[in-house]
Symmetry: C2
Subunit: 453 residues, 2 copies
């Protein structure tokens, strides 16, 4: 798109306008301008920025935008940008790139940056080790507060944060933590070992990234230290990364609930691909769940076919198929959403299975009794067939109770099996509740059939 633009007489004007816009823009405006441009023009805008400004901006872009920008750069410019990124931001970007591109970029890094990068890449994806930065400030406990402050000043330029400081032994074992605030307030002659807090909240390298993010959130921390099996401090996870992880997790949950398959890696990637991507990339995400639904819908149809005799005797039976299906579906979705979110927020403990099961049973049953009674009366009066009303009512009580329990049980079983619960729950619950609900309904109808006709 840009190449065409350059060939047109107003291309220079576009560049000049962009340059003028960017010159006066603060951080948000620049981001907004970048977001509003097509990818090719983003590359131009990027090159128009002052170098420091450009690198700071690059770190703030989504990984997929970074990826697209990178492709518009020369190999040399790309290496320079990747070299300048913080190690954790670099790993996040490399994770999104095709393996060959990633390898080439890693090879082109300076030895020190390459080593840091390879270390992080060695940890499993979505663990504390993979997302941490090795750029933390660690100090000896024997330093005085004044010496420590001088040391912080020396290191301030190279470290991701200087607001949380870690005290380690000569063997790099984590011994204590203190905030820069505490250091500033401490008696300059006090020894760090006496000023620092302990025990230190820390996570191990293979801790799940979501758990780490929740920990930072729950304890209102700016950073959490990551230690290896020997309690040696190897990195820190900072709050800005925790926010991104929590948002990504929330988006995944929403998408999983809505039946959008997880075929691309990052959250940002997925959302923008789903909106602006090619039809094929959208199909890959939306079609799997629709095909499962297709099979489930056909199976539900098979149930109806099995009771065609009842339908042929009384066509009015078909009138309540939508009600039975919708009601079970909604109760099931409510239960599975509450359960999944309750686990994520720590309000549900997997150990209290029996208590939660009984609660959900009572909720499903009570909702079923109420809605079933109303529907049964309406159905009976409407169709002038009291027994059909009884069948509708009883079917709703049974289907809604079952749906509530399934909504709770399916995610529970998936969590126990260590399968990401949200991803599998929606299609399974939809299929079971449709088929079971219709089976229950038609069974009651068949039971009453002799009296109905």
């Amino acid at each position: 798109m840009l190449m065409e633009a350059v060939a047109r007489p107003d291309a220079l004007t576009i560049v000049e306008t962009l340059k003028a816009e960017l010159a006066g823009a603060g951080a948000i405006e620049t981001l907004k301008i970048m977001h509003s441009l097509p990818t090719d023009e983003q590359g131009v805008a990027f090159r128009l920025l002052a170098k420091d400004h450009a690198l700071a901006l690059f770190e703030q872009l989504d990984t997929d935008q970074q990826h697209r920008l990178l492709r518009s750069f020369t190999a040399e410019a790309a290496t320079e940008v990747v070299e300048a990124l913080a190690p954790d931001a670099r790993v996040r970007l490399l994770d999104e790139l095709p393996a060959t591109v990633a390898t080439r970029l890693i090879d082109a890094l300076s030895p020190a940056e390459r080593e840091a990068t390879n270390t992080l890449m060695g940890y499993a994806p979505e663990t504390a080790g993979r997302i941490m930065t090795p750029e933390f400030v660690s100090l000896r406990g024997t330093l005085t507060a004044a010496e420590a402050l001088d040391r912080v000043r020396e290191l301030a330029d190279q470290k991701e944060t200087i607001y949380t400081l870690y005290v380690t032994s000569p063997a790099r074992v984590l011994e204590g933590v203190l905030s820069l605030r505490e250091l500033l307030l401490a008696d300059p002659d006090a020894v760090l070992a006496d000023v620092m807090s302990r025990p230190v909240v820390s996570v191990v390298t293979d801790a799940d990234q979501e758990k780490v993010a929740h920990l930072l959130q729950e304890l209102d921390l700016l950073a959490v230290p990551v230690v290896d099996k020997e309690r040696r401090l190897v990195g820190i996870v900072t709050v800005d990364d925790a926010i991104d992880i929590l948002e990504q997790e929330a988006t995944e949950d929403l998408y999983d609930n809505a039946g959008l398959a997880d075929v691309t890696s990052g959250e940002a990637d997925r959302s923008s691909v789903l909106i602006s991507g090619s039809l094929w990339s959208i199909w890959k995400v939306r079609l799997p769940f629709l095909l499962i639904t297709l099979v489930a819908g056909m199976l539900a149809g098979l149930v109806i076919e099995g009771f065609e005799e009842a339908l042929e005797s009384i066509a009015a039976v078909a009138v309540f198929i939508p009600l039975i299906m919708d009601m079970g579906g909604n109760v099931g979705t409510q239960s599975s959403t509450l359960f999944a979110r309750g686990v994520a927020l720590g309000h549900i403990h997997m150990s209290q299975f029996r208590r939660h099961f009984l609660k959900e049973l009572r909720v499903g049953l009570s909702l079923g009794l109420l809605v079933g009674t109303i529907s049964g009366v309406v159905a009976g009066v409407w169709q002038g067939l009291p027994l059909l009303g009884v069948a509708v009512g009883l079917a709703l009580v049974a289907a809604m109770t079952l749906a509530a329990l399934l909504g709770f049980l399916v995610p529970f079983v998936l969590i126990r099996l260590n399968i990401d619960q949200a991803a599998g729950s929606a299609p399974i619950i939809t299929s079971i509740k449709d088929i079971a609900g219709l089976m229950i309904y038609f069974s009651f109808v068949s039971l009453f059939l002799a009296h109905l006709t």
Copy 2:
């Protein structure tokens, strides 16, 4: 529960065990122990903690836990705890309390804290003004870096954060910002006005809290300044509050999508009420959507009743009702989720209505054509009625295209009308797609009826 326990011989043991457990526990363990206790015992555990430790812990609890704990305190103890909270945490708690309790607590505060609280309570809920803290560090631009550092040391104890420092004019107008890191690295004799950055990213007091949180996330800030209409600095919103807001927003979106009504105020409150609350409190949240579904299901039934003639001629027509309903529903949910999330993440711009509409039209149509073709062939062969297959196929193409467009249009219209889009979308889309899908299906069946029988 505790009173009974005290009456039993092992009650003292329980208290002693708790005391021993808490004594050795760090911040996370204490939080975990608190979470695991019934409310009455939480009160006891709380009183067993050292005072500083107890107050720090109180700030970290959810507002509903704070609320319940507070009720177990004497009036005096409650006032003391509320007085010790940071102004923004205090306002968050007061927002959750019954008005009479809140007023009594505010009246009991010291004059300075009461004034700070009343100022914040004067801003509309869910705005920057309501969630900000007035405890920020502001400095004059004429100070040298060394003088500024001394001033920061003096203020460090009373301020929420000292890591972001604000430079203001004598009239309190926000002039610039600098981080404590920049201050430490600056030449001690340099004047702040020369060291600070500008323009400063800031928000106004009535900015929506979610927008503020997204801004902090997007720019990786630790705090964002809040200014009034005259650009006077009146408070800051810190990153720990931003995380909580983003998580609350994500939970709301999930719940709204799952048809859980918004009858309680806070997210934490809602999740724990929905899991551990009384049946009545759960009914209030879950029943509204189920009653809407009841009406929608009955209306869908009305459509089927209108085509009873067709059903009576060929009962096999009923076999594909579940398929039509499920498919439209799933496509609609996919579209509305993508649209709502895309807007939240900034990937969809309301101004590009036409582009997104056409895209969604193409996506819905292409998915409909594929699924419709497969389903039509299967249906025709299965029932031995090719024309029924054609009706099923055509109905799916139409219903899925319509559902995709509705999934996009309904949230779009609700956003334009300034109604919280997620809350209203799910029931509206469910109702329309059910009724429209069945109408389309039966219309095709009726059209072919003469040839089918």
